[in-house]
Symmetry: C2
Subunit: 305 residues, 2 copies
């Protein structure tokens, strides 16, 4: 990561209201006509995965805007909205280190001042995987990302591929609605032992944390199984489910192979070799360890592996 851009140590500007944000962006764009804006939307409690997005944005754009907003609209009634982890001070330190210029931290009241009647809904690509297990989740994502795009008016927006379905949904929405922004999908960052970085990792007990390594191990094994020219889509899914199920603390929410980015189902009888001739494939899973739901995925063919 440090090869991309020198670490900036300038304190980013913190703005908490829409009017401040708009006025600040307007001033900077007037000062530098043609200024390109990179945007990293987050829910805060930042880790190095977010850091890599900020750093890439800072390398590719004259101005980088980071948003921190835990969006109630994308949480279900029994999800972790109330206990979602927050640490603004630490977030701002990372934002500064990685080169954010403006950090937008609106309140819920600022983003939803009155009862909002408008939703941006994407069908099909939202109906499987996390969309199936978290009803309404992507309606909230599409709506808030639309709002943030209208507020920031970015040239490029950076999203982590750990949420591969989110990347597909946002790209579909951008294409369908002609948003004037380039979506930049960025690779998942992992701990040294392979656990994908996630703000929700903080919920894990030491035992759960150790068990959760089954996710990465399974992705690695899946890459080997996929290299078998006789392996079918259904065969791979079955092996993956079996591998995860062997962990006594893991409870599978879903573990599926789908076409990417359409997220269409793959005929289970189809050999992977054949399936891959038509589109890349996403192997994605959501697995609970106690009360904590973790997601991870790999896209085949795996690039740069």
């Amino acid at each position: 990561m440090s090869t991309l851009t020198p670490v900036k140590t300038k304190q980013p500007l913190i703005v908490r209201t829409i009017s401040e944000l708009r006025s600040e962006l307007s001033i900077r764009r007037q000062e530098k006509p043609g200024l390109e804006t990179g945007f990293v939307p987050t829910m805060g409690y930042l880790h190095d995965g977010h850091g890599s997005l900020i750093q890439r944005s800072a390398a590719e754009n004259g101005l980088t805007v980071l948003s921190i907003f835990v969006n109630p609209l994308q949480f279900g009634p029994n999800e972790d909205l109330d206990r979602y982890p927050r640490d603004e001070e630490r977030d701002l330190k990372l934002a500064r280190q990685e080169g954010a210029d403006i950090v937008f931290i609106p309140s819920v009241q600022e983003m939803y001042p009155k009862r909002a009647l408008t939703r941006v809904l994407v069908s099909e690509v939202t109906e499987s995987l996390c969309g199936a297990s978290r009803p309404g989740h992507f309606d909230g994502v599409g709506t808030v990302v639309s709002k943030l795009f209208h507020l920031v008016e970015p040239t490029r927006a950076y999203f982590g591929l750990k949420d591969a379905q989110q990347v597909a949904v946002v790209q579909q929405m951008v294409d369908d609605l002609n948003f004037n922004v380039q979506i930049v999908p960025c690779p998942t960052l992992r701990e040294a032992d392979g656990l994908a970085l996630s703000s929700r990792n903080v919920y894990l007990s030491p035992e759960q944390r150790s068990e959760a390594l089954v996710l990465y191990r399974t992705l690695q094994q899946a890459a080997q199984w996929a290299a078998d020219s006789e392996m079918t889509a259904g065969g791979l899914e079955a092996k993956v489910r079996e591998a995860i199920s062997r962990s006594p603390l893991a409870s599978i929410d879903y573990a599926e192979l789908r076409r990417y980015p359409s997220l269409e189902a793959v005929d289970p009888q189809l050999r992977l070799e054949e399936a891959l001739k038509q589109s890349p494939l996403l192997l994605a899973f959501a697995v609970r360890f106690g009360g904590t739901r973790l997601i991870d995925n790999a896209i085949f063919p795996i690039k740069g592996a």
Copy 2:
């Protein structure tokens, strides 16, 4: 109208593709930093009502973009999509006269190149009046207006108040999704005898055309009835329905009094004087004359009447 701005006679630039439009807008904005863009979205077959929007946009902005697109998404299966009137040559003449700089005329294929999975849905304000009698209509409006706003990125967008509900829906969507655009509602234009200008007037037979004057006459009478301090919301609605029904060719689709712009129902027992203390009121109707459905409305208190 002619007091607003001198008539321009420069031929507007006609663009038919998204890439041409984006590139042209980008060039003009680079040439003139801070250039303000007025936008008039239409379905073509322009009349002087559209002309007044273009003229106002030309007076208030350095650049005026007119779009002409008969959006299939906002027509129901049994509506007049296929026979919606078109006359590009005449439209371009009016566009030039009133001062449009760019006319964007995309094909359906250009606007919907693949199966679009994204919809921008506004609830509540879309559920009565035209939203009730044309299911899905405002879903199509919200979606295409979002697309056009993303393509044109206007400073101001001009909408006629003949479609008062459309103005309310678009304003609600702009507020909820933080679109960076000012919606400018513009007054309904009428023929000398009071018939509201509409592209659909061309469908009317001479007899229907003459009968359709009942709409304007009823609006005028309604203004007098509303001046009666004892008149209730329900009483006004009843008198309006009765007045329209007296025309043998008129078939009422709806004729209702609602709060504006929320379009909430008004307690029929409430005296208008009391109702008006809480919000303006919209008296709106849709009435069929043969196969042609006309709409008209008035907002109380009537401004500048």
